[in-house]
């Protein structure tokens, strides 16, 4: 490993100290603003933070150099950025002032980030629409919950089982993609999503519309996840257990996404996005890579579903409707297709907005819809647009 090798180094060989300062400032500022947003109850502060965010993105739109210098600073100071990021993430629950609500919001946002990353393989990398991510998420959740309730299987064993079942569903879903495409394929996935939701709603063994209750909490080395964490006399709410678990899943997903993006599979998907016909002429097995995209999406979604089921300990079909799938699609598109950071930001934004806009009570969904449309109109490539693949000189 060459620690200093990075594609951007040659172009932007800036002042190392300044770059370190930029990295530290950006990371801490983001963490601080997110924390303030999560903890604040006052309308004025929330609206001010949203305006600030809008202002920052407007600034980035007008002055692209700022974005470029931040990106290059992170690229040149990768180790610092990663270590500091890791410390911030691990220490984050300690700054939540013991507010279990704030940590709950974080967990839900992170789960949606995983779902959005899952969908990103399809929509972002290969431009295959999929309105059934919510269904894969639901299948994962129901599989693990049913195994745990009926057979007493532990959380850690239901994870792979749920992933297996959901991946099979993903391939089944991908099957029609051999022939249909675009709007027709979008409708097939919509139809699959609705069929799954309706079946969950009607079967008696899935609990019907009432769903499944009493999913047992997981435990690890004798530590049950419903007990609070105590470290050095500092007590964290029990949600923190699931926070760390979800963080692990997010890190796994990001690494998974990165490895896939850099592999031949990622290249093949990008080729499909550019032109399926040209890709086929290059000897890429179009059918297989399309199916694979569906499978990978369902695989990751199932993990998120399992954690969700065990975290909330209660699931019902209404958690996995068509509108959930649409929300995940919106996260990817608003955040920025094929950009990991963008997708995660999109997931956080669209999870936290409706929650934090409860002050507008009846008008919050209206407000969210307007914000989504505004984002799509004003920043059509997403908050963080897709980057061009960089094959710079790696030493």
């Amino acid at each position: 490993m060459h620690l200093n090798s990075s594609p951007n180094r040659v172009q932007f060989a800036g002042n190392a100290k300044l770059e370190m300062l930029i990295v530290v400032a950006v990371e801490l500022l983001c963490a601080f603003l997110l924390g303030t947003f999560l903890l604040s109850d006052s309308t004025a502060i929330i609206v001010a933070l949203l305006c600030l965010m809008g202002g920052v993105f407007a600034l980035l739109q007008i002055r692209p150099q700022i974005e470029k210098s931040i990106v290059s600073a992170f690229a040149n100071q990768r180790i610092l950025a990663l270590v500091l990021g890791f410390v911030v993430i691990v220490a984050y629950p300690f700054f939540m002032q013991g507010s279990s609500y704030a940590i709950h919001l974080l967990i839900i946002s992170l789960l949606y980030a995983v779902l959005a990353l899952a969908l990103n393989f399809q929509l972002g990398s290969a431009n295959i629409p999929n309105f059934a991510t919510g269904a894969s998420y639901g299948i994962g959740a129901y599989t693990s919950a049913l195994l745990a309730i009926n057979f007493g299987i532990s959380f850690w064993l239901t994870l792979p089982a749920a992933a297996l079942v959901a991946t099979l569903f993903g391939f089944l879903l991908g099957f029609p993609s051999m022939r249909t495409k675009d709007s027709y394929l979008a409708l097939v996935t919509i139809a699959f999503g609705i069929v799954v939701h309706q079946l969950l709603n009607n079967f008696s063994w899935t609990g019907g519309p009432n769903g499944l209750v009493g999913i047992p909490a997981p435990s690890l080395f004798g530590h049950s996840f419903i007990r609070p964490i105590e470290i050095l006399g500092y007590k964290l709410p029990s949600q923190a257990n699931f926070y760390y678990l979800t963080i692990l899943l997010v890190i796994f997903s990001i690494l998974f996404a990165k490895r896939l993006h850099e592999s031949r599979v990622g290249l093949a998907w990008n080729a499909l996005r550019a032109d399926p016909l040209a890709a086929q002429c290059q000897g890429i097995n179009v059918v297989w890579y399309k199916m694979l995209a569906f499978g990978v999406d369902a695989f990751l979604a199932a993990f998120a579903g399992t954690i969700y089921a065990f975290y909330v300990s209660y699931i019902s079909p209404d958690n996995f409707t068509f509108l959930v799938s649409v929300t995940i699609m919106t996260m990817v598109i608003v955040g920025g297709m094929d950009n990991t950071l963008g997708v995660i930001v999109g997931a956080f934004l669209l999870t936290l907005l409706p929650e934090k806009l409860r002050i507008f009570s009846d008008y919050r969904l209206l407000f969210v819809g307007v914000v989504v449309i505004l984002f799509l109109v004003l920043r059509p490539k997403g908050l963080f647009p897709q980057r061009i693949r960089n094959y710079g000189q790696r030493k």
């Binding site: 929509l123 431009n127 629409p129 099957f175 029609p176 022939r179 249909t180 495409k181 675009d182 709007s183 027709y184 979008a186 409708l187 097939v188 919509i190 139809a191 699959f192 609705i194 069929v195 309706q198 079946l199 709603n201 009607n202 016909l277 002429c281 068509f322 649409v326 699609m329 919106t330 598109i333 009846d362 008008y363 969904l365 209206l366 969210v368 819809g369 307007v370 989504v372 449309i373 799509l376 109109v377 059509p380």
Partner: protein, 305 residues
């Protein structure tokens, strides 16, 4: 049994007509603008609310003069306003996505749909609750031992008339020919002194107004209307248009009749059919698209290199 069978046929036709009126809008908009207007169901569903609101305002003022006709006036106003709403939404939002990737327009119109629903809920008094909607025609006629509600006759008659008028318009009238020219090639149409923007506005008005009639029938058929009825109606209309072949008006009709058919059959034959109807409808959608990937009447696209 025969009388019962006739009732089923009648029910199928009424549902088929309602779905057709919605599906035609999807097909028209896709054919001309190449855009999937996912909020079409929600736009259409504003019509019953416009009509109800208008009736309530007018009844207070003009009831003595208009009598029972105020509801029909209300419906006419509702249909017109919905058509205008289509144009306004296109001008405000949808036209910004003409050049964007298809999925972006789709997501934007989904968001637009949720904005519309929430607007109805927020602006209409007690908008979250279902509102009762009057039946457009009461009574029934007896025909060979079969009771035919006047409402069914009205729905079928008006729908067939609307579809016939639409077909005639598209093939014979000047505006219809212009619409088809723009659908064929925007740029060449512009060279022929046809303004695509004006044609887009006309298309949006037509699609929304026809959808509005469908939504009014739907509300009247159900007897109630709620702010979120547009989601399901829109999904079914969209499915009908797609399995028939997007952009083909005959396809939209065929798809609607197919979906209404499976809807009616399931409700009769499958035990607990009412709760499984969506499963069967969308299973049919999947099956159709697996067998005919570009819809029943859609033209298969051959890519040229």
């Amino acid at each position: 049994m025969d009388a019962l069978f006739a009732q089923y046929i009648l029910n199928w036709l009424v549902l088929g007509c309602i779905y057709t009126l919605i599906a035609l809008g999807f097909s028209l908009l896709f054919g001309v603008l190449n855009v999937i207007h996912f909020s079409h169901g929600d736009v259409s569903m504003t019509a019953p609310f416009f009509a109800l609101a208008f009736v309530q305002i007018v009844v207070a003022a003009l009831a003595t003069v208009l009598g029972t006709w105020s509801i029909y006036l209300g419906l006419a106003v509702g249909i017109l306003l919905t058509g205008m709403l289509g144009i306004i939404l296109d001008w405000l939002v949808i036209r910004r996505f003409r050049a964007a990737p298809a999925m972006m327009a789709l997501v934007a119109t989904v968001a637009l749909g949720s904005v519309l629903r929430e607007l109805i809920r927020a602006l209409y008094p007690q908008g979250s609750n279902p509102k009762s909607f009057p039946s457009l025609a009461s009574g029934s006629i007896e025909l060979g031992g079969v009771t035919i509600p006047n409402f069914s006759v009205l729905v079928i008659f008006i729908s067939v008339a609307m579809v016939a008028a639409l077909f005639w318009m598209m093939s014979h009238s000047a505006i219809g020919i212009r619409i088809r020219a723009v659908a064929e090639d925007r740029d060449i149409a512009r060279l022929m002194a046809i303004s695509p923007d004006r044609i887009f506005a006309v298309t949006f008005f037509l699609a929304s107004a026809v959808g509005a009639i469908g939504a009014i029938f739907f509300a009247s058929h159900a007897g109630v209307v709620r702010f979120d009825f547009g989601v399901q109606l829109g999904l079914i209309g969209f499915s009908a248009a797609v399995i028939g072949g997007l952009g083909s008006m005959q396809g939209a009709i065929l798809g609607s009749l197919l979906i209404a058919g499976i809807d009616s059959i399931v409700q009769i034959t499958v035990p607990d059919g009412a709760s499984y109807r969506l499963v069967f409808i969308f299973a049919l959608v999947i099956l159709t698209l697996v067998l005919k990937p570009s819809g029943i009447l859609g033209k298969p696209v051959f890519e040229k290199v």
